[in-house]
Amino acid sequence: SAVISQKPSRDICQRGTSLTIQCQVDSQVTMMFWYRQQPGQSLTLIATANQGSEATYESGFVIDKFPISRPNLTFSTLTVSNLSPEDSSIYLCSVKQETQYFGPGTRLLVL
């Protein structure tokens, strides 16, 4: 099974700023995913980030707001730009091997 770590685990940010979330996996994986979980809600897929190609965004999510990097097979970053209070959520990184594994999440509060 894959072990996933995320940094930071939580943060409080001012509106208008940006936050970059790092996701590190202990093994090489081709497929990585970023999810958002708003308070009391289920998970919503933001984008798929495969190494060597541009990220693929789901409906309602755009690259300007959620730029993603995938420099190698064990690492990815998600930036949440121009923050507003509506961006307050948990952001989770996920990878697919024999099944799909999730990181612990990054809890973001925007004031």
């Binding site: 497929m31 897929l45 798929t48 989770l92």
Partner: protein, 113 residues
């Protein structure tokens, strides 16, 4: 992608068996059924996965009828620590749809002493 429907919440008592049923009427031939468990402030954790009939592991059993339009997660003798949200997901194991899993609303299980 197949949509799933589950009860929003369930209550149980310690020591009881809990069965959570999920409907997925539009499941495709290549789709597997996967259940995840999520505790507060944690990422979802894989519980069990199956394609048809019955699958059992050290944590749970998964029952899938022949038509595969539903599935039932069975948790034997639950304890207080099983209080969590349980998600039923249907997805293509073989990456034909990009391998992405789409989460439904989940079932919030509350186990009482």
């Amino acid at each position: 992608l197949a949509k799933t429907t589950q009860p929003i919440s369930m209550d149980s008592y310690e020591g009881q068996e809990v069965n959570i049923t999920c409907s997925h009427n539009n499941i495709a031939t290549n789709d597997y059924i996967t259940w995840y468990q999520q505790f507060p402030s944690q990422g979802p954790r894989f519980i069990i996965q199956g394609y048809k009939t019955k699958v059992t592991n050290e944590v749970a059993s998964l029952f899938i009828p022949a038509d595969r339009k539903s599935s039932t997660l069975s948790l034997p003798r639950v304890s207080l620590s099983d209080t969590a949200v349980y998600y039923c997901l249907v997805g293509d194991l073989f990456y034909n749809q990009g391998g992405k899993l789409i989460f439904g609303q989940g079932t919030e299980l509350s186990v009482k002493p």
